[in-house]
């Protein structure tokens, strides 16, 4: 009997193991994360926009700030930002210690591309339009930094593993067309996004203006290419025909998901360059200091923004020289002006640093107005340059001073007045440069490369006194995965090879 029951038990076990398997292997559905098909466009858009805004406020802003004369480092930061100080193209393209603008930009482009595919499938025109505008935003940035980049063959996943590079100029044109198409789709849309559009809350008009402003920025970038004049004319006409115009006073493209004082959820500029969620200052806050150049410029114009931007040391404002390799007590963090934040301003919002939950600036009203001022000055668009210029300065003051500041006296100064300027474009660019300071610094670097304005002093650690960064080298990842394409582009030397729109 005992034997029998054991045999029976064994038989039972065998039967169990052999038969209970029909659903046994069906466990490969991820219980931890959803697939794209199960997510609405509204649950994807905010994350993509925040990614773009964070890149603008930190990665691009930082590089631009060092290379357009805004920032240097205190003695404590002598070893920080070394690649930026010596213009090391190799250092910056490094997988590990470099600045992955290329990789991040294409990753973010993928976010928008997948949203574009989904919105076209769902017939969600507004989302399609937003996706296109934002894709153009990133492609234009990529060309500004790397010149020739993949466009048509990009973002196709493993369907095209080695995307072909296209001429920077062609990518510019295609991106501008993408915006045109995007604006059309937005205007044709019957359903608008709601709170998930964390820039304009589904406002068609503002999206169109934003799109047009990006186009204007891209067209002005080509101002030094005489052969582009006809093209620029045609494109300006298209913008005029579209009719929405450009972002104007109080119409900044700000990203606001609802930043709050928790690690990873603070405004990215605030968290990276000022204080963490614990209220403790970050390393960058000790290391980064304004340059003597920008401090002196503001002082020279008796610019009230100086006091809102920086902390005074013993009653005066002190900067540093970018790339200064020497150690001096005068450059110690405690002897130089740091950014002014709410904690240094009686818990009131300061110039750049207002609160941990301040919105991130994608494209400001004042930048748009300066773009219009320059375009008007060049006779590309209607309106008077002086008006745009004055509005731009007033918007900048409003942003930095946190109030409707009366700029009349400031504007009357000989060194500020556009009417009295010997070189109006240079004056517009100088004021634009002052306004973009540490907000969208990468644009100031583009202006410097386009016009050589303002006359920013070189890094004291530059390989030679005249060497300036013109672009970034293609990243190491690209060199190892798409090498033939990289080689086909010829030199990508950081100091010598220019982006197509540069003189």
């Amino acid at each position: 009997m005992k034997n029998y029951s054991i045999k029976l038990a064994l038989l039972g076990l065998f039967t169990w193991t052999a038969t209970s398997c029909s659903n046994f292997l069906e466990v490969n559905v991820n219980p931890n994360a959803p697939v794209g098909e199960n997510l609405t466009l509204a649950s994807k858009l905010p994350a993509a926009l925040v990614a773009t805004a964070t890149q603008e406020a930190t990665q691009l802003n930082q590089l631009g700030a060092f290379w357009s004369g805004y920032w240097g480092t205190s003695s404590e930061g002598l070893n920080a930002f070394y690649n930026e100080k010596i213009y090391s193209g190799q250092g910056i393209r490094d997988v590990r210690d470099g600045i992955p603008i290329w990789e991040n930009s294409y990753n973010y482009l993928l976010y928008y591309k997948l949203m574009l595919d989904q919105s076209e499938q769902e017939g969600a025109l507004f989302y399609a339009g937003i996706s296109k505008i934002m894709m153009a935003w990133h492609f234009l940035q990529l060309v500004d930094i790397y010149n020739n980049v993949p466009y048509e063959e990009a973002l196709l996943g493993s369907a095209v593993n080695r995307p072909k590079y296209e001429d920077g100029k062609a990518v510019y044109e295609k991106s501008i067309n993408l915006i045109t198409a995007g604006i059309q789709q937005i205007n044709a849309a019957t359903v608008a996004p709601k709170q998930d559009d964390i820039i304009f809350a589904g406002n068609k008009k503002l999206w169109s203006k934003f799109g047009n402003t990006i186009k204007l920025r891209a067209l002005l970038r080509q101002s030094e290419q005489a052969s582009q004049a006809a093209y620029i004319r045609t494109e300006i006409d298209k913008i005029v025909k579209e009719g929405s115009g450009f972002l104007s006073s109080s119409e900044s493209a700000l990203v606001q998901p609802g930043y709050l004082n928790t690690t990873g959820k603070l405004n990215p500029f605030y968290e990276n360059f000022y204080r963490n969620s614990g209220g403790a200052t970050v390393v960058n806050y000790t290391n980064i200091r304004p340059t003597n150049y920008v401090v002196e410029k503001l002082k020279g114009l008796s610019d009230p923004r100086l006091e809102a931007l920086y902390v005074a040391v013993n009653g005066s404002y002190k900067g540093v020289d970018f790339g200064d390799p020497t150690v001096s007590t005068a450059s110690n963090a405690s002897n130089t002006s740091a950014f002014k934040g709410p904690l240094e301003n009686g818990n009131k919002p300061a110039g750049l640093l207002k609160s941990s939950s301040q919105a991130a600036v994608l494209l400001s009203s004042f930048e748009s107005l300066f773009l219009q001022a320059e375009a008007a000055q060049r006779g590309w668009i209607a309106g008077t340059a002086t008006k745009y210029y004055a509005d731009a300065i007033s918007e900048s003051f409003k942003y930095i001073m946190n109030e409707n500041y009366n700029t009349a006296a400031y504007l009357q100064q000989k060194e500020v007045s556009l009417a009295e300027a010997p070189a109006p474009i240079a004056r517009i660019i100088e004021q634009k440069w002052l306004a973009l300071n540490s907000i969208n610094s990468i644009q100031a670097w583009a202006d410097y490369r386009r016009l050589g304005l303002p006359t920013i002093p070189n890094s004291l650690s530059a390989p030679n006194p005249t060497a300036r960064p013109q672009r970034l080298m293609y990243p190491e990842t690209e060199n190892s995965t798409n090498r033939e394409q990289v080689i086909a582009q010829g030199s990508d030397d950081i100091l010598r090879t220019k982006v197509w729109w540069m003189k």
Partner: protein, 1016 residues
């Protein structure tokens, strides 16, 4: 000693000359098998009755005890891997016997190996190479982790410790058998099988519990274990109790370890910049040491601290390490009766790390038992391990090698006084920290419970058919906590945010095997057929919560935080189902053919691709038995040739990798606002199993009465269509892509020699050598001819995997360094391939010399032919602590053997252009990656053991202690490396990488200690 020999001879003689006419008598023989030389009990001796071999054999316990039923006049056959087989006739009434065996190393002919599914097979029928490491050899160095104890003991097995040598208290180990087969570097580990149960890891296993480890090399040997066996298998057999008298064994080993082989540092120039002293700079670019008192650090409450501006007497970096202490205590009990046995052990290991404050404790208990119910044999193993680890994250060492030689760390050990310059708020530099503060302030603790239990039922229906059912469970629960103490400062770089991260990880594996075994003889043919089914269920749940903004310095709880809580939970399930068969046909016990096949189904692939079959065939031929002319040869005692072919399917894909999933990133959700982004590794729903084709052939010889064993093998493997995450151009949108692509081949030659050079009554001298050469090549990749694996490690078509490729100096055709008109060096445009990062040539050499109770054994290890590089070196250049930076006294110099480029593109020798030799210049120099590389060749004395066993005659009378051994053990006692290697121990790897010394890497340690072992 003589007494024993007399006894032995009397016994043998008595047995031999007993008249066979004595009437048969049923006996229950209880006895003990002892080593003839030292009288120690021999565990694992297989004993069976020659006349009734089918009734099976018994195995002696840890002290050699056994009991077996037999008739008088029958013959007992005693077999053991390391001893000469002995046959003894049973005399009437001899129920208590003491039997002796003569030591012989790895007698190939009769050895049993633990084959697939944990089934013992005669070595002669195995058509692939298998090497056995017994308990004694494994524990010679008294190493805490059994994997590390295997190092250099098996041909073709490469063990690398990352964390043993990094001095941490929880060693990480990389194991490679016959090279890498997968481009997915995390998927090259062999399978670990403990008593027939595949476990994810054996690092916590008590090495003293291990009776033997059979290393089945190559995918062929492990075909029946399913895909995981593709990289070979480590078959671990734990000890079992013996029938007969109970026994207690107690031992203790205590080891002391110190760091060695630090990358050298200069001690002539101290803190400052451009030759000017600065009290607050951590770079060593200041002036030469002058022995004066100088300001040190910032003022504290208006008081300026001062310090001596001179290098400390001894390397100041050594002050930041302690002497590590490892203490192992063991106790084991074993015994049994007619129907059952038991073995029980408890081990306690305490480690005090070389990094101040690091410590760990491991307590493990094992209970192995067997019980017999008529035709049903049952066995059960339970192993519980509690492990506690308390270390500092990353260690303070990375902050030490780029601080100057004048910092007298000993005076900064006590940092807690807020008015002292050692306090983190007053430390002389804001970004480099006081290493003792770092160690104290960042704590990483883990508590781990591991429970591994197995039940096996074995029912013999008839003498030729039995069924085996084996079910096992492995559960590992880890609670972890990382805390960082809050330090608030008005100076940004001094600030430390208080944080706490609590984790809970629960992993459970259930493994179920049902095997039918048929064994039948047909004339001269012996056949054995195994049919089986395997079910595997892996479940994991990981939870982590944390807060990065704690409010208080000493309350580490997410409840005392500002802002939101962060946290996540991850659940993972894996299922597999296998059906397998193995047919072995033997002819006359000298020619064997084995066919294997397995059909696997895995949950991680799509329905269409998840089922796959893989076959194997192997054969072996014992020609010394087959060819009459070779029989009884005094030179060639044993000879076997073998060959095998396998095509093994493998799925290295993790669960849930077929579809693109989205997660909330960038701070989302913000309240009700959600934001999802896709993963940046491109998934692939069409992934198929990858296949490794392998061949192997070899021979085993026993020469001069089996005094010398030669084991040689050639193996080839070819892995195609590999599943791996290929790095792709980010312009595709994704940074990586999961693909079936790539091809790797390995050609391996292995040789193992083991010889008893001297063996007589008092002396024994054994020598062993193992060697392997692996030619590993990448044949195909996904896009392009190369991809970057990690840092400077590359997979390059036509080169070994991984290969070191890096930037060199810009040089002229003659290899001279080019300097520009300012004396600056520059990087070459292209990277240079230096060579493989895994050593193709591995040597292990062991020797054991015994004289009476004295025994000295040593294990040497050499690895030749690979490259390594260091990320410590560039940092040391930049900070001015590297010795090269003072070679020219910090003055301008003409770089030796340098050239300048002429206008026409030619080069001429540089005789006048001075190089600055300042921080910028040497930083650029250190960034030339080839400066950081060196040949990784080494020879080291890995283990040295000296022991003395008290003669049995001394212990004979008191009757309490059966055996006593005392000894000294040393590990890593000396090392010889390439003269250009100033990086460190080439064996020390960072986090499972190859040939790479991270900037985090802690120097190697060497240890020395003593051990005592008593048996009652």
């Amino acid at each position: 000693m003589n007494k024993f020999y007399t006894l032995l001879f009397i016994l043998l003689g008595f047995l031999a000359y007993t008249p066979s006419s004595v009437a048969q008598e049923h006996l229950l023989i209880q006895g003990q098998v002892l080593d003839q030389e030292n009288g120690a009990g021999i565990a694992g001796v297989s004993i069976y009755v020659k006349e009734n071999a089918k009734s099976g054999s018994v195995i002696t316990g840890s002290t050699g005890g056994f009991s077996i039923r037999a008739h008088s006049g029958q013959t007992l056959v005693l077999k053991h891997l390391s001893y000469t087989t002995n046959s003894i006739k049973i005399k009437s009434g001899a129920e208590k016997v003491t039997l002796y065996l003569v030591k012989e190393n790895n007698i190939l002919a009769e050895a049993m190996v633990t084959g697939a599914l944990g089934i013992q097979r005669s070595a002669r029928e195995v058509g692939a190479s298998a090497q056995i490491v017994d308990n004694e050899s494994l524990n010679a160095g008294k190493v805490v982790n059994p994997l590390l104890a295997l190092s250099s003991k098996v041909a073709g097995l490469r063990i690398n410790a990352s964390d043993l040598t990094t001095g941490k208290t929880d060693p990480g180990v990389q194991v490679r058998l016959r090279g890498s087969r997968s481009l997915n570097r995390a998927k090259n580990d062999p399978i670990y099988v403990v008593d027939g149960f595949p476990v994810p890891d054996i690092a916590r296993l008590n090495p003293n519990d291990i009776a033997s480890i059979t290393v089945l090399k190559g995918s062929n040997a492990a075909a029946l274990y399913g895909s995981e066996g593709v990289n070979g298998a480590l078959m671990i057999t734990t000890k079992k109790g013996q029938r007969g008298v109970g026994e207690i064994s107690v031992s203790n080993t205590t080891n002391f370890s110190r760091v060695f082989f630090l990358p050298p540092a200069q001690n002539r120039f101290g803190q400052g910049a451009n030759g000017v002293y600065s009290p607050i700079i951590s770079d060593s670019w200041g002036p030469a040491f002058d022995g004066t008192q100088k300001d040190f650090g910032p003022t504290i409450n208006g008081f300026q601290p001062q310090a001596l501006y001179a290098a400390t007497k001894k390397d100041n970096r050594l002050q930041t390490f302690d002497t590590g202490v490892t203490s192992q205590s063991d106790i084991s009990f074993s015994g049994g009766d007619d129907n059952g046995t038991y073995y029980m052990s408890v081990q306690d290991v305490r480690i005090k790390g070389i990094i101040p404050g690091d410590k760990s404790a491991r307590t493990g208990a094992r209970f192995n038992g067997t019980r017999k119910f008529n035709k049903l044999n049952t066995s059960y193993n339970v192993n519980y391990i509690h492990f506690n680890n308390n270390t500092t994250s990353d260690g303070p060492w990375p902050s030490v090698y780029d601080q100057p030689a004048n910092i007298d760390y000993n005076s900064h050990r006590n940092w807690s006084d807020p008015s002292s310059p050692s306090h983190p708020l007053n430390w002389y530099n804001t970004s480099k920290k006081n290493p003792f503060f770092l160690a104290d302030n960042t704590r990483n603790t883990a508590k781990q419970h591991t429970l591994n239990a197995k039940v096996e039922l074995d029912y013999a229906f008839t003498d030729w058919f039995k069924a085996i059912y084996r079910v096992g469970m492995f559960n590992e629960q880890t609670e972890s906590r990382v805390t960082v103490g809050k330090l608030a400062s008005s100076i940004g770089a001094r600030n430390v945010n208080g944080s706490v991260n609590d984790g809970q990880d629960n992993f459970t594996r259930l493994n179920n095997d049902f095997i039918l075994s048929f064994n039948k003889d047909f004339g001269r043919f012996n056949t054995r057929l195994l049919l089986g089914q395997n079910i595997r269920m892996d479940d994991r749940k990981s939870i982590g919560i944390g807060a990065n903004n704690l409010l208080f310095e000493n309350i580490f709880n997410p409840g005392s935080r500002a802002g939101e809580l962060n946290g996540a939970a991850t659940l993972t399930k894996y299922r597999s189902l296998g059906t397998y068969g193995e047919l072995t046909v033997g002819y006359n016990n000298y020619l064997f053919l084995t066919l294997t096949g397995r059909q696997d189904q895995v949950s991680v692939l799509s329905k269409n691709n998840r089922s796959y079959f893989y076959p194997g065939v192997s054969t072996s031929f014992v020609f010394t038995d087959a060819i009459p002319a070779l029989k009884n040869s005094s030179i060639l005692s044993f000879g076997k040739v073998y060959a095998s072919f396998n095509r093994t399917g493998n799925v290295t894909l993790d669960p849930y990798r077929l579809n693109l999933t989205y997660t909330q990133t960038g701070g989302f959700p913000f309240g009700n606002l959600v934001g999802f982004t896709p993963g940046l590794t491109n998934p692939n729903a069409l992934i198929e199993p990858e296949f490794v084709t392998s061949y192997e052939t070899g021979f085993q010889l026993g020469l001069f009465n089996n005094r010398l064993h030669v084991d040689m093998a050639y193996a080839y493997s070819d892995s195609k269509g590999q599943i791996f995450e290929a790095v792709t151009s980010s312009a595709t949108g994704f940074n990586k892509s999961i693909v079936n692509a790539g091809r790797l081949t390995n050609s391996i030659v292995e040789l193992a020699l083991q010889g008893a050079v001297v063996k007589n009554n008092n002396w024994n001298v054994d020598l062993g050598l193992n060697f392997s050469y692996t030619n590993n090549q990448v044949k195909e990749l996904y896009t392009g001819n190369e991809f970057n694996i990690f840092r400077q490690q590359y997979a390059i078509v036509g080169e070994a995997y991984p290969t070191l490729k890096m930037k060199d100096f810009k040089r002229d055709d003659l290899g001279r360094i080019v300097v520009d008109k300012n004396g600056n060096i520059s990087e070459s445009a292209d990277e240079t391939v230096l060579g493989t990062m895994v050593p193709p040539y591995l040597f292990g050499f062991n020797t054991r010399v015994g004289y009476k109770g004295f025994q000295i054994s040593a294990q040497f290890d050499a690895r030749i032919g690979s490259w390594m590089y260091s990320e410590v070196v560039p940092r040391m250049y930049a900070s001015g602590t590297h010795p090269e930076t003072v070679k020219y006294n910090r003055e301008e110099f003409i770089l030796p053997n340098s050239v300048v480029e002429n206008a026409d593109g030619s080069f001429s020798e540089n005789t006048s252009i001075m190089s600055k030799g300042d921080k910028a210049w040497w930083t650029a120099y250190g960034k030339i990656q080839t400066v950081t590389a060196a040949k990784a060749d080494y020879l080291k004395l890995r283990e040295l053991q000296i022991s003395y066993t008290l003669p049995a005659s001394l212990l004979g009378k008191q009757g309490v202690i059966k055996r006593a051994t005392f000894g000294l053990v040393g590990n890593n006692l000396f090392i010889v490396t390439n003269k250009n290697n100033t990086i460190g121990d080439p064996e020390a790897l960072y986090n499972g990488t190859d040939g790479y010394s991270s900037w985090r890497q802690i120097p190697s340690t060497r240890s020395f200690g003593f051990t005592a072992n008593l048996t009652f």
